[in-house]
Amino acid sequence: MRDVAIVSYSQSRSVRTERNQNEVEMLMPLIKEAVKNSGIPKEEIGFTCSGSTDYLSGQSFAFVMAVDAVGAWPPINESHVEMDGAWALYEAWIKIQCGEVDSAMIFSFGRSSMGETAETLTLQLDPYTLAPLKADAISLAALQARAGLDAGKWTEREMAEVAVRCRAQAKSNPDAQVTGDFDVDKLLTDPYLVSPLRKHDCPPVSDGAAVMIIAAEGAAHKATQKPVWIRGLEHRLDSHQPGGRDLTVSPSTTLAGEAAGVHNGAVDFAELHAPFSHQEIIVREALGLGPDTLTNPSGGALASNPLMVAGLARLGESARRIWAGHGSRAVAHATSGPCLQQNLVCVLEGE
């Protein structure tokens, strides 16, 4: 295995509606900043991989147009995944492991504000038996939350506590969207949005973009910041039929975490991609994270949830925290699909 590190990361502020910039306009300054901080001249970056979905803007080949923000002349070595940027990072990491390139740029973008995201996400469901019922993302997450409440795995209060902690921690994150001090007792008097979920259990609708540059040893030391090494990276998935698995656990997260080597050392903090409050409880348990591990110091997806970006942002926020000196070993997690169907786990270490 080659040692590969995150050498730079840039992200936009997460906002409810980015009205004035298209995807290319959002990405250009981020790419410029990430390239500069990587210390690697842009023309020397061996590979570019993006993660996004055209369904967010309803524009076919939006992902191709986004390459304008990189500058693709002379032609560049480029790829795309119709997934969160965390899986674009996985492809880029494999490409480096194969020895084809020594460095890569990963970018992702999502302007959820243009559509009805909960409903747009029904397009990812089984088209025969699920999608025609239009079970939106919030309703599916509510089925999962109720299953755990019924099984005694968590309470509505514990769910609210996750949301309150995430949004309080997000106060120190200048890019976060929903931040502040909220009172659990007061939140629990709010009406249900889709029972048993209340508004605070759900992520905001967010627009945002992120850019990351990774490099193998050698190239990694040109950066302005010390490399944050990717010590383990794996992703696994569960059945797409929500009725065919136990929604209160996440075996795919557990397997990915074991393969990534989560417990090969102490975990200082974890950035978990849990868009719904109860999902943080599931992922923590699946990864075997104890009470000593600070979870989602950035605020996580309950504070900022640009679709297709929020997973990559867990890795990026982890790197930023290590650069800031607040810990040296982190676990970052990204999810995709309904009810935590697919999960990626990455172990990161500072020098």
Binding site: Q21, G58, E116, Y128, P132, L143, A147, S239, Q241, P242
Partner: protein, 324 residues
Amino acid sequence: MSNSDTDIEVGLSAPHVLDYDYRRSLGPVLSRFFTGLRAGTIHGIKTRSGRVLVPPAEYDPETGEATTDEFVEVGPGGVVETWAWVETPRASHPLSHPFAFALIKLDGADTAMLHAVDAGEASAMKSGMRVTPRWAAESQGSIKDLSHFVPESEGSAAAPEAPADPTTDIVTPVHVEYTYTPGKAASRYLRGLKQGKILGQASDSSGLVYVPPRGACPRDGVPTSREVEVSSKGTVVALTIVRVPSENIKVDLPYCTANILLDGADQSFTGLLQECSLEDVRIGMRVEAVWRDASEWDYSSENIKHFRPIDEPDLPFEDIKEYC
């Protein structure tokens, strides 16, 4: 497109709808399931380990092995495993009044299927409650032939008449609504069109002028911050004759679509070429935009009706070959 002309820094927005149907073939397993629904029966399938999957699948998700060819009739009643109360249904939801989405384990099944439960109010819902199906009055050939479930206390419904032919494929409509915002560069371009101008933007690095602009120089990835008005006249650099009808095309067949390099631009621009015989269209031909009446101008490329030839000598291929 909406918005006032004075607020130049606020991007435009417009409604945008994706609407299309997929016709999907079912294969033998799902064909059995969907044919059954039309007759008021629900079929699962046995895995090699003897579990019954509902809805049936061609493979066992736990092992990846093919399932057996043994179908099992399950239900029609079953037990709610978990549920979500939708107090404010969306227009696309299966029921228009408050209802529950639920995972329902039908009698005889080992997995739960997703569907809607019409229980009147949330207080009537409970995990573990028994429910029974209601069938659609008319078959749509979809999962919605099973309209929804109701509490079993409301009694079972008569099954619809069995269909003569099996269901072999289904239509799954996709309808997605957006409020599209094109960003700063495209908003400026569209505002220009409203005033009868074609505004490109020049690359900060190379000075190349892009029309329509998207805010970036695609060669270098740098902003295009300088606005440049380009001419309504230009040169044909590529063309095609369209002879196949398409739903969205409003002009008579056959017609010519051309890539036109407007004078002052470095990127070609697609337009209809009209007011000339199709035999005469050629690369290098000089053309001009024909605008609609100024009273009809909107934030739209449709302000330009089409392009037509002008009485100027053709440009030699050498001068335009980079764009052809």
